[in-house]
């Protein structure tokens, strides 16, 4: 490894736990117990009540934009007459589309880590990361076509896309943090790939249920590739984890 950024499984001067402060730690506990009188003016359950009241207020993150082309509008109208709501499909297609596009950028960030720190025996290489990146990009383009074929706008952020972006903000941060190592970055990629796999499976079900079999066939191929991505990422991680544990064992002082 070129190894500027260390993995975090090594022993060091971590100060976060209560036992890292043998003198002040016990004083913290004693102070909290002695100096936090129970507030008798407060009705029991007020935390839950105020939280529930806040969550019960009316509000919306947003909506699915209407179809923008006459062809799409016609198709939308037909589906609606048949009792199907195409906005659900457009919403979820928008989510996968945005996730795949963001996924390309995650693999860009992983390539940066690789270039900066190198890899390990059985770890990710340029060809492997680029292969996955290229397929994420293909999926993004394929989904753009699907969205456009429904007369919808692939550049719009649908509510489901927004939700997935919110849920994966931390992955973007991890992959781009200048202090994270390549193996730590893989933790983020694994979470992304696991979620992506599950979402593709759901999307295939949804497309089939709406009679969009042509979509479903294309999505099944994407899912096959995503399964492969997950296997690659997990393989790289396992190799790193096992090697690191064994290395640490070898380096550990005799008991």
């Amino acid at each position: 490894m070129k190894g500027k950024n260390e993995d975090s499984s090594k022993l060091g001067m971590n100060r976060t736990g209560i036992k890292a402060s043998p003198i002040d730690g016990p004083r913290m506990i004693e102070g909290a117990e002695r100096l936090t009188p129970l507030d008798t003016s407060n009705e029991p359950g007020s935390y839950v009540r105020m939280t529930v009241r806040g969550a019960s207020l009316e509000g919306s993150m947003g909506t699915v934009p209407p179809a923008t082309t006459p062809k799409g509008m016609a198709k939308t109208a037909i589906k609606m007459l048949r009792g199907l709501d195409p906005s659900v499909l457009i919403d979820k297609l928008g989510a996968r589309l945005a996730f795949e596009r963001a996924g390309v950028r995650l693999y860009d960030a992983a390539l940066v880590k690789l270039a900066a720190h190198g890899s390990w025996e059985g770890g990710p290489d340029v060809a492997g990361l680029k292969h996955i990146r290229a397929e994420e990009l293909e999926h993004f383009h394929m989904l753009c076509e699907c969205v456009e074929s429904l007369g919808a706008d692939p550049t719009a952020v649908t509510p489901a896309a927004n939700v997935e972006a919110m849920a994966s903000e931390g992955i973007v941060k991890l992959l781009n943090d200048p202090r994270s190592s390549l193996s730590q970055a893989l933790e983020g990629l694994m979470i992304a790939e696991l979620a992506d796999n599950a979402c593709w499976e759901n999307l295939i079900q949804l497309a089939r249920s709406m009679g969009q079999d042509d979509f479903a066939v294309r999505f099944e191929e994407a899912l096959r590739q995503e399964n492969e991505h997950l296997a690659m990422v997990r393989g790289w991680m396992e190799r790193r984890m096992v090697d690191a544990a064994h290395l640490e064992l070898e380096e550990a002082p005799p008991s």
């Binding site: 945005a98 996924g103 950028r105 693999y107 940066v112 550049t155 927004n162 919110m166 973007v172 992959l175």
Partner: protein
């Protein structure tokens, strides 16, 4: 009909009350609300922030005003909370950054178009092209780091193209100071405009100084550091337009008037009825605070505020996009530079040695704002719509 500033007395201070639920209204929708609703929210947060900041400084320097200033400040603080809490939690720091730059661009353009003083209008056009470039750079960062399109925030109101390159915006402090207006002769609109821009730029500077360290990638951190530095220059520039000879109480009145003016602009243009009600509440309350300040002005300065304050509120902001105007300014004025208090054509008047030295020093190990947008052009959905190759060039020898 224009607001009569002496007859419309708003709500008395002792009747202005909030509870915590009032201060934390349901946020707007990032996806569905109009971009100009977000622009108004961000600007009004900046206006209230500046009012609070100024009133704090005034209290530190002027003993007799301690109590009335504390009273008004508390109300302003709560108005600011109610306004700023309208921003939604799904709007990331980088998306909010894009929105801040849209505020800077669109508000400065509106002001430059309406400004009666040609010198001030020129300064505003000068600053406009710099914030315009920041938008382009941050958009490139958003596309390349997060795989997101800044136009999801901009909603096609504002172009995403380079302005005056951020890398050349760095100037020695002396070249960021401009000539102030004359408190006795300047149009009141000039004063309102300048104070509005000080407020907007100050909050942008403070926002970047807060979220810059939260940016994950090193390039993003460098970019925030670089652009925060320009925002500090912009605060210096716009602040220097204010007449330092104004009395503290004159400044307080102008602060209140600027707040009234901006809330009135929001009420007039807001498309979301729920948010318009909030603007109306804030306007009514601020009018009460304005009259409170005028009473103190009469009492302490023994003068009639009519010396400073027009009978009716000047024509308020339209909150419409200024694409054509901005493109025109870009075409005609992007090459201009600042030397001392003047905006100059560098083909005729070279930049100062101090600025050239300062800029060279800052950029000597590369320019983050240049690097982030290397080869980048905005397009709907981001550059990956074209199937861009991986950014890293792995050919041998390139990375070592």
């Amino acid at each position: 009909m224009a607001l009569d500033l002496f007859k419309e007395r708003g709500i008395r201070l002792d009747r202005q009350q909030f509870d915590w639920q009032d201060l934390s209204p349901m946020p707007i929708s990032k996806l569905d609300d109009d971009a100009f609703t977000r622009v108004r929210i961000i600007l009004m947060n900046g206006i209230e922030q500046q009012r609070g900041r100024f009133l704090h400084h005034l209290a530190q320097m002027y003993g007799p005003l301690r109590i009335p200033l504390a009273q008004v400040r508390r109300l302003s603080h709560h108005q600011q909370t109610m306004v700023n809490w309208l921003l939604p939690p799904d709007q990331t720091p980088l998306e909010t950054t894009i929105a801040y730059e849209q505020v800077a661009i669109e508000v400065t353009a509106m002001i430059a178009l309406a400004e009666p003083d040609p010198y001030h209008a020129q300064i505003h056009r000068f600053g406009l092209l710099e914030d315009f470039d920041h938008m382009y750079r941050f958009s490139a960062l958003m596309d390349r780091m997060e795989g997101k399109d800044s136009n999801n925030i901009l909603q096609s109101y504002t172009d995403v193209i380079p302005g005056r390159p951020t890398a050349v915006e760095h100037r020695a402090p002396v070249d960021d100071l401009r000539r102030p207006y004359d408190r006795l002769t300047a149009d009141v609109l000039t004063k309102i405009h300048d104070l509005t821009l000080v407020s907007g730029e100050y909050q942008t500077r403070d926002f970047y100084m807060t979220i810059g360290p939260m940016a994950p990638s090193m390039l993003a951190r460098l970019l925030y550091a670089e652009i925060a530095s320009i925002e500090e220059q912009h605060v210096t520039q716009y602040e220097s337009l204010l007449d330092p000879m104004e009395t503290p109480l004159e400044k307080w009145l102008m602060q209140e008037l600027t707040t009234v003016y901006n809330y009135a602009s929001c009420v007039k243009t807001e498309s979301n009825p729920r948010i318009r009600e909030i603007w109306q509440t804030c306007l009514d309350r601020t009018l009460g605070q304005f009259h409170f300040a005028m009473a103190i002005f009469r009492q302490l300065e023994k003068r009639d505020p009519v010396d400073l304050i027009p009978e009716t509120l000047p024509e308020t902001f339209s909150y419409t996009a200024s694409r054509d105007f901005i493109r025109e300014v870009l075409k005609d004025e992007v090459q201009l530079r600042a030397v001392g208090e003047e905006i100059v054509d560098p083909a005729k008047v070279p930049e100062s040695e101090a600025t050239e030295r300062y800029r060279e020093l800052l950029n000597r190990r590369g320019s983050p704002s240049t690097a982030v947008a290397d080869g980048w052009q905005w397009q709907p959905g981001g550059e990956l719509m074209n199937g861009t190759e991986a950014l890293m060039d792995f050919s041998p020898g390139r990375l070592q």
